[in-house]
C-alpha cells in the first residue's frame, strides 16, 4: 500500500503575542500515514486539535516541527518546507479541502463557484459547468439558485455548494472538516456516496465527522488526536 500522506514528528504550538506571549501546545510527535483509498477519521473531544491537524495538512497552519509529505505530480512534497507557489500548485492539483463554511466571493454565481477548481485544472468553461451542474443536482440545489451568488443561501445550501466545489476536481487527497454538519438526512447520504466514490477511485481522505452515522459509513479507522496531546509546560 502506498502512503498518499505521510506525517512524521509533527508538533504545533500557538504563541499568542497579543495575550502576553502565552504558549498553547496542541500536539507533538504526531505520526500519521494515509493510504490510497483509505478514509481516516480524526477523533477526539473538542479542543483536541483535530481541526489544527487538518488545517496543517492543507498548509493553512504552519507546524512548529515535523514533516508533512503529500503525493504531488508523481512524487512526494514536504508541505512544511514548500514554497508558496508550490503549495498553490499542490492545492490546485493534489489536495482538496472542504471547510464547514463557504467563503463567499461577491457576485460569483453558485455554478461558477463550483466550476472554478475544474477550470483551474484546464477544463473548458462548458465542461466545467456541466460537471458543476451534475454535482449541484445531486446535492439537491435547485436549478433556480445556480445563477445566484451563494451569499444569500442558507447554511445547509452553502455547505452543499462547498461540497460540490470540493469534489469537482477529484483530488487524490481530500480533507473534510465536518462536511455534513448542517445537512439533513437525505443530503448526508449523498455526501456519504460522494466519499465512497472518492475512495473507490483511490483518493486518500482525512476527515472530521462528528455525525456517528456518517463516520461509521465512511471511516476505515479512527485516529485519536488526544494521544499526541501535550500539556502546557
Amino acid at each position: 500500500m502506498t502512503a498518499m500522506i505521510s506525517v512524521s514528528g509533527l508538533a504545533k504550538d500557538f504563541v499568542l503575542h497579543t495575550q502576553g506571549g502565552v504558549r498553547i501546545p496542541v500536539f507533538a510527535d504526531l505520526d500519521l500515514e494515509v493510504a490510497a483509498g483509505e478514509c481516516v477519521c480524526l477523533h477526539g473531544p473538542s479542543g483536541a486539535g483535530k481541526s489544527t491537524l487538518l488545517r496543517s495538512l492543507y498548509a493553512n497552519y504552519k507546524p512548529s516541527a515535523g514533516r508533512i509529505r503529500v503525493t504531488h505530480r508523481g512524487g512526494m512534497v514536504d508541505l512544511t518546507t514548500a514554497e508558496p507557489w508550490q503549495v498553490i500548485d499542490i492545492r490546485r492539483h493534489s489536495v482538496g479541502y472542504v471547510s464547514q463554511f463557504l467563503s463567499v466571493i461577491p457576485r460569483v454565481p453558485a455554478l461558477d463557484v463550483v466550476a472554478e477548481p475544474a477550470r483551474m485544472l484546464g477544463a473548458s468553461a462548458e465542461a466545467a459547468r456541466e460537471q458543476a451542474a451534475a454535482l449541484l443536482t445531486r446535492l439537491n440545489i435547485p436549478e433556480r439558485l445556480w445563477s445566484v451568488a451563494p451569499a444569500t443561501f442558507s447554511g445547509g445550501e452553502q455547505q452543499r455548494v462547498n461540497i460540490a466545489r470540493g469534489f469537482i476536481a477529484r483530488y487524490p487527497i481530500m480533507l473534510l472538516d465536518e462536511p455534513t454538519a448542517s445537512l439533513d438526512a437525505g443530503n448526508r447520504q449523498v455526501v456519504i456516496g460522494l466519499i465512497h466514490e472518492a475512495k473507490a477511485r483511490g483518493a486518500a481522505i482525512v476527515g472530521i465527522f462528528h455525525d456517528a452515522e456518517v463516520r461509521e459509513a465512511v471511516a476505515d479507522r479512527l485516529f485519536e488526536v488526544t494521544a499526541y496531546q501535550r500539556s502546557a509546560a
Binding site: 503575542h17 498548509a59 497552519y61 508558496p84 460569483v108
Partner: protein, 268 residues
C-alpha cells in the same frame, strides 16, 4: 471569463521579478529596510501594513518611481533575462513602463488623463506601444470599457464626469489594455464605497486570473488581499516581518504585529 491560465510545470518557472535587500530612507527616517522576495509570472502578492510601515515606499521603489539607497530590483526582460531596472537607460525604462508594466494609483486622477475622453485614455496606451489603426484602437477601447463594466455610451465622455468607482475601473482598463506582465496597485479600493469595492475586487480578481498577470497590491485592507493575493508580506516599521501564503499568514500569524493586525479586524 474565457481561458483560465493553467500553471506551468514546476521546473519551467522562472522569476518575473527578483528583489534583493532593498533599502530606502529619507534622511534619518527609514522608508523600507532590507526587503527581498521573488515574484513568479501570474502570481499576485499583497503587501499589508499600517500607514508609515513603508509599503508605499517599497512599491515606489519596485516600480522604478523611486531609486533605492541599496539593493537590487531585477525584472525579466525576456531575451535579455533578469536585468536590474536601475541600470537600464531612461528610454529602456520608459519602454518597460509602457509595455510590460501597469501602475494603478490609489487616486484615479494620478493615473488617468482627466482632459482626455474615456476611450482616449484606453487608446493612448495602445498608441504608445505602436498601434496606429484608429478603428482597431477604438474597438479595443470599447471592448475594455465593457470588460470593466463601463457603458459604451460613455466612451467619449471625460473621466471627470465619472464617479470614483467608474474612474478607478477606467484606470484599470487603461493599464490592462496592453496586457502588461506586471501590475502595481496602490490601495486600489481606497476611497471607494464598500459596495463599489466588492464589485471592483471581483472584477480585478477575474481579469488578473484570466490574463495571468502578476500583480503587487499594496493595501491596509486584509479583505482585499484575502480575495486577490496568493502571497502576503506584512510590513512593520519599514521591514517585512512575516511573509507566506495569504491564508497561512492571516489564519496562523506568527509575528506579534501580524497577530495584532489580524485580531484588530472587526467581524461583521
Amino acid at each position: 471569463m474565457s481561458a483560465v491560465m493553467v500553471s506551468a510545470p514546476v521546473d519551467e518557472r522562472r522569476p518575473l521579478l527578483r528583489v534583493e535587500s532593498v533599502s530606502k530612507s529619507y534622511g534619518s527616517t527609514i522608508g523600507c529596510r532590507d526587503v527581498g522576495f521573488t515574484l513568479y509570472p501570474g502570481e499576485v502578492i499583497g503587501i499589508v501594513g499600517e500607514s508609515g510601515s513603508g509599503k508605499s515606499t517599497l512599491l515606489n521603489v519596485l516600480s522604478a518611481q523611486l531609486t533605492p539607497d541599496s539593493g537590487r530590483v531585477e525584472f525579466d526582460l525576456g531575451h535579455a533575462g533578469l536585468r536590474d531596472i536601475f541600470t537600464l537607460s531612461e528610454p529602456e525604462r520608459r519602454r518597460l513602463m509602457r509595455t510590460d508594466w501597469g501602475i494603478v494609483h490609489q487616486n484615479p486622477r494620478d493615473g488617468l488623463r482627466m482632459d482626455v475622453s474615456a476611450g482616449g485614455n484606453v487608446g493612448e496606451r495602445l498608441m504608445a506601444i505602436g498601434q496606429r489603426h484608429y478603428a482597431n484602437i477604438r474597438a479595443e477601447g470599447l471592448d475594455w470599457l465593457a470588460k470593466v463594466e463601463l457603458d459604451a455610451s460613455r466612451v467619449d465622455h471625460l473621466p471627470k464626469t465619472f464617479s470614483g468607482g467608474m474612474q478607478q475601473r477606467l484606470q484599470i482598463a487603461r493599464n490592462l489594455v496592453t496586457r502588461p506582465r506586471l501590475v502595481f496597485m496602490d490601495e486600489p479600493t481606497g476611497g471607494l464605497d464598500v459596495s463599489v469595492q466588492a464589485r471592483l475586487l471581483d472584477l480585478l480578481r477575474g481579469l488578473v486570473r484570466e490574463l495571468g498577470i502578476a500583480a503587487i497590491v499594496v493595501t491596509h485592507d486584509l479583505a482585499v488581499v484575502r480575495l486577490l493575493a496568493d502571497r502576503l508580506m506584512v510590513m512593520w516599521k519599514g521591514e517585512v516581518v512575516e511573509q507566506g501564503l495569504t491564508d497561512q499568514v492571516l489564519d496562523d500569524p506568527h509575528h506579534p504585529y501580524t497577530q495584532l493586525l489580524v485580531s484588530s479586524v472587526l467581524q461583521v
